[in-house]
């Protein structure tokens, strides 16, 4: 049979299995049907819920404005799939093209899409993590539990880790009138994602909203009372903080353990794939029937030195799912590359924070509009003389312009005049990212080098 003949038969009668039934999985399934795939589609998800949206969990839901179970994602179209929810994939046999399931069953595929995302990194000391009152926030069920406890008005909340999720949780707690301590190992909140200059603004925002922010410290231990409820947290500087609720916001771990012996290039930093979303195997050879999308993927980006990027961004999950779906049912010459411009937003302390590009790659930053002191500004990030990222605080309307500058590799510092440029924006300054060789839980974009088969947890020096 010719290859074209195969594709036609596959498109009409093939079997596609999607593992991971969340944002990326759902949008891929819809796109597959949009692309005219009429074969069988099986969706495997270990959560019992139909796909729901996570960003509201740390925002509307914690504020009590939206019940946790009101977050199901709207469908763009009917997908006509077999949904196997509450069942985890536990293994993959690449040769037999078969996925093993936790209920003992297995499903065969002609093409597989992996969208297993990430999970919250738990508090590393197990006994302490089990104390009543210690939470993480990644799933709807996490949000239900945490919201329930916050509603009861705990006397003190401690948030460990001031990345985006931790900062948003702290913001919601303050808005609820709860007293909050935030402990951050780095020099400032968001420092891993946005650098020290912008991190300082985030620190000011937290403090001006009444957060007891402690940077440059680590929580060394959690202590419970006789009933097993968390009461006290001990810090590396000798301080002790009383808290009835502790939220561990130390970043995420990729859900790749189930692929450990599969022969795919999957590890703690995700699953490596090419620009067409095809997974690499451990030999560094690209597969033609296994595709990856969303938070679990690492894919190379031409605008950022062809390094593999791991993105924990809502928009990336959607865009990559669409590309993966298209490529799964298209001939090789009709395939498209995933060239999405990294973009994300965060809402905290009443400020709309948005970013395009890859800030952690930058060595310098310049405030091109507005003012850091007013918490309303646009900052451009530079790497070796070109713009590679921009961040706005309550100035989202300018971001599209910077996005086009990044796409055309425009020079840094920017040569264009801007409205509302202040004295502080006349000269670029160091962007202030922490040493990338030190582990950090902050960034939502991780540059993870050039090797498709890298399975170790190592951090690539930013200026390698």
């Amino acid at each position: 049979m010719s290859v074209d003949g195969y594709l036609e038969a596959f498109r009409s009668q093939g079997r596609i299995v999607v593992v991971g039934a969340s944002l990326a999985g759902l949008r891929a399934a819809e796109a597959l049907r949009d692309e005219g795939f009429t074969g069988t589609l099986t969706m495997i998800g270990d959560e019992p819920h139909e796909p729901y949206d996570r960003p509201p969990l740390s925002k509307q839901v914690l504020l009590g404005k939206v019940p946790p179970d009101h977050t199901a994602l709207p469908r763009r179209r009917l997908v006509d799939a077999e949904w196997r929810l509450g069942v985890a994939a536990t293994g993959l046999d690449l040769a037999a093209k078969r996925v093993q399931l936790s209920d003992g069953d297995s499903v065969e595929y002609d093409r597989l899409l992996i969208t297993t995302g990430v999970r919250a990194r738990p508090w590393p000391r197990e006994l302490e993590a089990e104390l009543d009152g210690v939470f993480v926030l990644r799933t709807r069920d996490d949000a239900t539990r945490l919201h329930h406890r916050l509603k009861a008005g705990p006397r003190g909340v401690l948030v460990i880790g001031a990345g985006f999720t931790g900062s948003e949780i702290a913001s919601a707690c303050r808005e609820r009138g709860l007293s909050v301590t935030v402990a951050e190992r780095g020099a400032a909140p968001l420092v891993g994602a946005l650098g020290g200059v912008v991190g300082e603004v985030a620190a000011e925002l937290q403090r001006s909203h009444g957060v007891d922010l402690r940077c440059g410290v680590q929580v060394t231990g959690l202590e419970g009372d006789a009933a097993g409820r968390v009461r006290t947290a001990h810090f590396s500087d000798g301080a002790a903080v009383e808290a009835e609720v502790v939220v561990v916001a130390l970043g995420a771990t990729r859900n790749t353990e189930w692929l450990a012996d599969s022969g795919l290039g999957a590890g703690p930093r995700g699953i490596a794939c090419d620009a067409g979303c095809r997974a690499f195997d451990v030999r560094g050879i690209v597969t033609d029937d296994v595709f990856v999308a969303g938070d679990v993927a690492r894919s190379p980006h031409p605008l950022f030195g062809y390094q593999f990027l791991s993105l924990e961004h809502w928009g990336n999950a959607v865009a990559q799912a669409e590309i993966a779906a298209h490529n799964m049912v298209s001939a090789s010459t009709d395939r498209r590359p995933h060239l999405w411009m990294p973009s994300f937003w965060s809402a905290q302390f009443g400020v709309n924070i948005k970013s395009v590009g890859v800030p952690p790659m930058a060595d310098q930053i310049i405030v091109t509009q507005g003012s850091l002191a007013e918490h309303r500004f646009t900052a451009a990030y530079g790497h070796q003389g070109r713009i590679i990222a921009a961040v706005t605080f309550d100035q989202a309307k300018w971001l599209d312009f910077y996005e086009s500058e990044i796409e055309r590799a425009a020079p840094f510092p920017p040569e264009f005049p801007t409205v509302d440029r202040r004295p502080e924006g006349m000269q670029p300054v160091p962007a202030g990212f922490p040493d990338p060789s030190l582990p950090s839980h902050g960034p939502t974009v991780t540059l993870s080098g050039h090797s498709p088969t890298d399975r170790r947890i190592t951090f690539t020096p930013r200026r390698a």
């Binding site: 949008r27 949206d53 960003p55 509201p56 925002k59 509307q60 404005k65 939206v66 009101h70 977050t71 199901a72 994602l73 709207p74 469908r75 763009r76 179209r77 809502w314 928009g315 959607v318 865009a319 669409e322 590309i323 498209r336 590359p337 995933h338 060239l339 999405w340 411009m341 973009s343 994300f344 937003w345 809402a347 302390f349 009443g350 400020v351 709309n352 948005k354 309303r376 309550d394 100035q395 989202a396 309307k397 996005e403 796409e407």
Partner: protein, 78 residues
Amino acid sequence: MRLVVDLNRCQGYAQCAFLAPDVFTMHGDEALMYDPQPDDEQRRNVRRAAEACPVRAITVEYGDGAPAAGTAGASRVG
């Protein structure tokens, strides 16, 4: 009825908050917050809001089998 807003695309123009104030609200100057599962009586308002959004950032599933409006989350580049 379910909806989601692509907040990468959203420019904070607040047209939606004007047309369906019980569903979309501005939080601070620029951050949009919304109810992802509004009551059915909001249907008219939500439809008008989704249609008025200048960047088509709002995807709605009306729950009546009609195709979802908007293009939220479609790839922006490439």
